[in-house]
């Protein structure tokens, strides 16, 4: 029972404990989860340290290797007939994603501190969802990957449907159906891979040479399947509605982590197994991603509801992830992975703050709020830091990711013409101006100026738990922003194999 | 050229077809049942020609004696005899006629075109042979079917009583 299995199933055990505690001790639920996820964070740190120890020895070898090298591996056979194994391990990229998820679930639990409506089931579902996410990031057997992928997606329906606000049933239904459609494409792809490659084990499949005509149709299947979750352009409409009606912790977890599953999946499965397919389809998805970026930021300008505002901004930032991946360039892919981490933290911060503001003003309508800075300075300042991070101010993690993607985008890859690649990157870079416009417009309307609604005079500033939540997230933003070389060193080793395979 | 037997066959066929048509077209259910009785009788006759004498007996005794009588009882009980069947609208009739005629065409086509090897020695349909065949458990026999049928009839016996029993609320209504 290695550390990875503990990390994956600890949330599940917590969920069971919470479910078993009697209703009389209702106040205990929050504490169990808080301490549990806190412990989880510590364990993730231990895991990272263990990873670093074993990775240090072959840091140089990674540069030229053609295959991902796994650490802390656990492998047991599960269904012998179809040689499906419980095969989990971790490489640089997965460690980064595990840290992100652990931080987000810890702050998510803290952010839903004053939730009254059936907290027991809420926390249980939340933890089950996060178990699925952890599972995806460590599993290297396609079947296991898909099982965890489904476990991560399914609880969303209940979490939004029961605890949501606004037209929650509609959004929950839409979200789940679209994600299911996506995972249907995925299943088709995985089965095609299995029949062709002969096994579910990702590393073995890596050695298998897939025929070109098969790659040509399976790669777009997988890309679109994962793209639906990663808010790729035409399939992104579930995310604004889904986030607008989801409760705080759920939209934190969803926008922060679940949408990163899309990008992670594209890289880990689609691009790893089908390099020629990636080259073949490179340009079309690059154009789609550019639309995603520009479209998302422009749509965010006109949003009136805070959550839609953030949802569209995260559509645009997720577009950056897919853009980074679609350029098939080492620096850009590394940027995409950093963007997954940094955007996860950023959206987590944003949605937790929106939850706190909504908890006080009971409205998310931007025009009707104003001058809140005087009343809640801590929340105001953290909102501004989140805003500046999202528009890519240096010394915050947003800049690290975006500068990588732009530099990588400019360097392009040997298969596409330099001009088109640079033109598309220039277009994507333009979105940093539009992001600045809508972030500042939105925040200025909500926080600056005179207090419009007299009721807001007597609102209170952040409580201890809220300060803890925002504090952790902002510290991470600054830490990655000021010391990017640590994050880059962690991720770089695992990116080289992907690029060398092209 | 026509021997007495074929003539007789023609006669039986015409009568059976005509009464069949009667069964189907009569509005009054009583008339339709009696036409059915006529068809069954004629069929019994046919069995004789087809060297299945025992079957004629079974047919007359069980089929006409039992089943048709039962139907008549049911008609009496439900008072269906007195009232006329309400008319089915004509386009439904036309549709029904068309479908059944289409069925007729298809099956005649199938029958005419499939060459079946016929043997003209005729079967020795003695009752003794029939009984042996029925209970023969060597593998080509029908003992299993025989047992199942007896079970079925028993179940039907009990079932019919249970179903037809007057329910409580019907009693005290």
């Amino acid at each position: 029972m290695g550390i990875l299995s503990i990390l994956v199933f600890l949330p599940f055990v917590l969920a069971v404990i919470v479910l078993l505690t009697p209703n009389s001790k209702a106040h205990l639920y929050k504490w169990i989860c808080a301490i549990g996820t806190g412990l989880h964070l510590v364990l993730t740190a231990v895991m990272t340290y263990m990873y670093y120890q074993s990775y240090a020895v072959d840091r140089l070898a990674a540069k030229t290797s053609l295959h991902t090298k796994l650490y802390l591996v656990e492998q047991w056979s599960w269904f012998k007939a179809y040689d499906i194994e419980y095969f989990i391990g971790v490489d640089g990229m997965s460690v980064a994603m595990m840290i992100l998820t652990s931080i987000i679930i810890f702050t998510g639990v803290l952010a839903s501190w004053n939730l009254e409506h059936r907290t027991k089931e809420f926390l249980a579902f939340l933890l089950v969802l996060v178990t699925g996410v952890f599972g995806v990031f460590v599993s290297f057997d396609l079947f296991l990957f898909f099982v965890f992928y489904e476990v991560a997606v399914l609880p969303m329906y209940l979490l939004i449907g029961v605890w949501g606000t606004g037209k929650k049933e509609y959004s929950a239904m839409k979200l789940t159906l679209m994600l299911m459609a996506g995972s249907a494409l995925l299943l088709a792809g995985i089965l095609a891979i299995y029949t062709e490659g002969g096994s579910f084990n990702l590393l073995e499949l890596g050695h298998h040479k897939f025929p070109m005509e098969m790659q040509n149709w399976v790669y777009p299947f997988l890309f679109l399947g994962f793209g639906v979750l990663g808010a790729l352009f035409p399939f992104h409409t579930w995310s604004p509605d889904g986030h607008a009606s989801a409760p705080t912790a759920v939209s934190m977890l969803h926008a922060g982590v679940l949408m990163k599953l899309g990008g992670y999946g594209i890289l880990r499965v689609a691009m790893y197994l089908f390099p020629e397919g990636a080259i073949q389809w490179g340009m079309t998805f690059l154009v789609l991603a550019t639309i995603n970026v520009v479209y998302g930021s422009f749509a965010a300008v006109k949003q009136k509801d805070l959550k839609y505002f953030t949802a569209y901004s995260s559509v645009s930032h997720c577009g950056f992830i897919i853009f980074g991946l679609a350029t098939l360039n080492f620096v850009a892919i590394k940027g995409a992975v950093i963007q997954m981490f940094s955007h996860g933290i950023m959206t987590g911060l944003f949605f937790s703050l929106i939850g706190m503001v909504y908890g006080r003003t009971k409205t998310r309508d931007i025009p009707s709020m104003g001058g809140l800075m005087k009343v809640m300075p801590w929340l105001g300042v953290s909102f501004y830091i989140g805003g500046l991070a999202s528009l890519g101010l240096p010394s915050l993690s947003g800049f690290v990711a975006e500068s990588h993607i732009f530099v990588g985008g400019f360097m392009g890859n040997p298969w596409t013409s330099k001009l088109t690649m640079q033109a598309l990157t220039a277009l994507a870079t333009m979105s940093i101006v539009v992001t600045a416009v809508y972030v500042l417009r939105g925040l200025a309307q909500v926080f600056q100026g005179e207090i419009t609604n007299p009721k807001f005079e007597l609102l209170t500033d952040a409580t201890v738990t809220e300060k803890l939540v925002t504090g952790i997230l902002i510290f991470t933003l600054f830490f990655v922003g000021i010391f990017p070389s640590l994050m880059i060193d962690l991720i770089e080793g695992s990116i080289w194999p992907f690029v060398n395979r092209f | 050229m026509y021997n007495i037997e074929t003539l007789f066959i023609y006669l039986l066929s015409i009568v059976s077809v005509l009464s069949a048509v009667l069964v189907v077209t009569q509005r009054r259910i009583i008339r339709s049942v009696s036409a059915l009785m006529m068809v069954l009788l004629v069929t019994a006759g046919m069995y004789v020609i087809l060297n299945a004498e025992f079957l004629t007996g079974v047919q007359v005794l069980v089929y006409i004696g039992g089943i048709v009588i039962l139907i008549i009882f049911a008609i009496m009980l439900t008072g269906a005899g007195k009232t006329n069947d309400d008319e089915v609208d004509t386009h439904k009739k036309l549709l029904a006629f068309a479908v059944s005629f289409l069925f007729l065409l298809c099956s005649t086509y199938a029958i005419v075109n499939t060459p079946i090897k016929t043997v003209d020695t005729g079967a020795n349909s003695s009752v003794r042979a029939l009984g042996l065949k029925l209970l023969d458990y060597s593998g080509t026999g029908h003992v299993l079917a025989f047992e199942v049928i007896s079970l079925l009839l028993l179940a039907v016996l009990i079932g019919a009583i249970v179903v037809a029993r007057k329910t409580e609320e019907a009693k005290n209504a």
């Binding site: 839409k174 006109k302 528009l391 101010l393 101006v433 600056q448 | 029904a96 298809c106």
Partner: protein, 648 residues
Amino acid sequence: MNTYGFFLTNIWLILLIPLLSFIIVGLFIGPKNKKLAGIFATTSIFVCAALAYGATFEYLSLFPLGAEHPVIVPWSVQWMPYLENLTATLGIMVDPLSLLLMMIITTVSSMVHLYSIGYMHGDPGYSRFFTVLNLFTLSMLGLVVAPNILQMFVFWELVGASSFFLIGFYYTKASAVAASKKAFIVTRFADLGFLLGILILSYEAYHLFSLEAFAHLSSYNAFDFNFLNHPEVINALSTADGALLTFALVLLFIGAAGKSAMFPLHIWLPDAMEGPTPVSALIHAATMVVAGVYLVGRLFPLFGSSEVALNVVTYVGAFTCVFAAVIACTQNDIKRVLAFSTLSQLGYMMLSLGVASPLHKLGYLASNFHLMTHAFFKALLFLGAGSIIHAVHSNDIWQMGGLRKKLPVTHITFLMATIAIAGIPPFSGFYSKDEILAAALVNNPIVFIIGLFVAALTAFYMFRIYFLSFCGEAKSDGAKQAKESSISMLIPLIFLSVLSVVSGWFPFEKFFLSEALVHNTPSWLPIVASGSGLLGVLLAYLFYFKKTTYANSVKNGFGPLHTVIQNKFYIDAVYLFVVHKIIFRFIAAPIAWIDRHIVDATMDKTAYVTKESGLVLKKIQTGNIHTYTMMFLLGGLVLFLLLLGVGF
């Protein structure tokens, strides 16, 4: 031979101290004790000033005045490793240009800190003000000492962000909020150009590493200035793809133009006056706006390699110079006048950089000399204006008057600064402006004439303020009971006034350049330059001091043109129109609408279609036995016919 003394070895303190004081004041001292916050912040900046001066003396001791002044990078650490030869380092680069800028920034910033202890007294956001001011000084220093272009971009953005917070300091005032938003978005737009420029430049430079001719330079990174300004690299780049290099340089210049508020992107500077006056003094006079000039100065060898880029710099600079000076003459708010005068002086610096070229560096020398002198007297002008506003409680120059006796110290210092900016000989303004005009005369006569004309205009509008505010009788009760500001506000005024006089005599040329420069400026030039300045003063004297009707007659003479100029040629309105009407209504709204009604609707429609088809199919289950059997039979027959048709 890195026998650096104390100051140069731990030069990195100059960045660490403001960072630490920013964190300490911001998080710990600020909320608790306002007074201590102010003092702590100011002392930390004074320490930085000491460090800067120490480093300069140490540098000069290593490389005496006349001799070679090499570029040294005493401290640098790896910050962001993109790729093997493409790593952004965080470091400090020391050479005359960066030392000069370090001295200017720390001096002006410490004076402004000292001044704002008095000026901001009693303001609720007192400690917040000092925190962000410290952050600004940190980012400005970081920008100036950057050894590579990416670190410069990083601190460039931080400068933009801190100016956003400082302009929007009075965040309850709607106009301040709008102004801070406008400033940040316009500079952000310019930074987009800057970033694209960096990307193109670093892309081209990075590809040079693959050539074996540059094997000996492989220790550098594609971002480093030493690498980009390296003569071999420059001619490799210009020969490889001259047009692309010019395009990259023009993009970089757009970034510089945004920050230094050159013509098309100048709209945010006049509105930035919404911020507290010390902010205007520090940011919008001395340091931030100069960052653009510093960028062009730092990449001067590269700019020199493409004619087109230099021409763009010259003509944009010259046009802004004239344009701003003309508007300045018509403004009524004292801070707006000073803002436009800053715009015009920045135009001067840009045009002087434009006319220079790697061969005759006079323009390059003159622009940085003017940069230094302008920093001191413009900061003094703003601080003086601040103490006037503090006393009179209004910005409008028509409500001031007769303050000569009431604010003696402010009056003298303000007068000295006005004389300096007007370019009257003994003061510093004359020396630097004279050198610019000399450089312009040699290379570009048209620009020389423009420079001369603007010199007169500058003198005119500066003395216009001087006469209206200090001479004549008080025009409003506010002006009547005006009383001198507190001592902590006056010391910086005095110190800066001394500096604005002395800085002219500083042996700039020997300090700044390695080899002596051949001077062939004609003898008549200084006379003509100071003459135009005096002409401007005379005109202002006639118009405003003698209470003659000339002022109004000239105004009516211009008629409608005057109002147009007063409203800054309605360029703000054009920008507003473009942003709100075009971008918001014709791009953002349709996209939001499309997303809601087309992309989203298709998803809903597919759901609707499945529902509808369900309803249609429902009709078959009628519950009627006839239909069921009919279906059953028809199915069989159809199958039969099909098989028949297929012929088994």
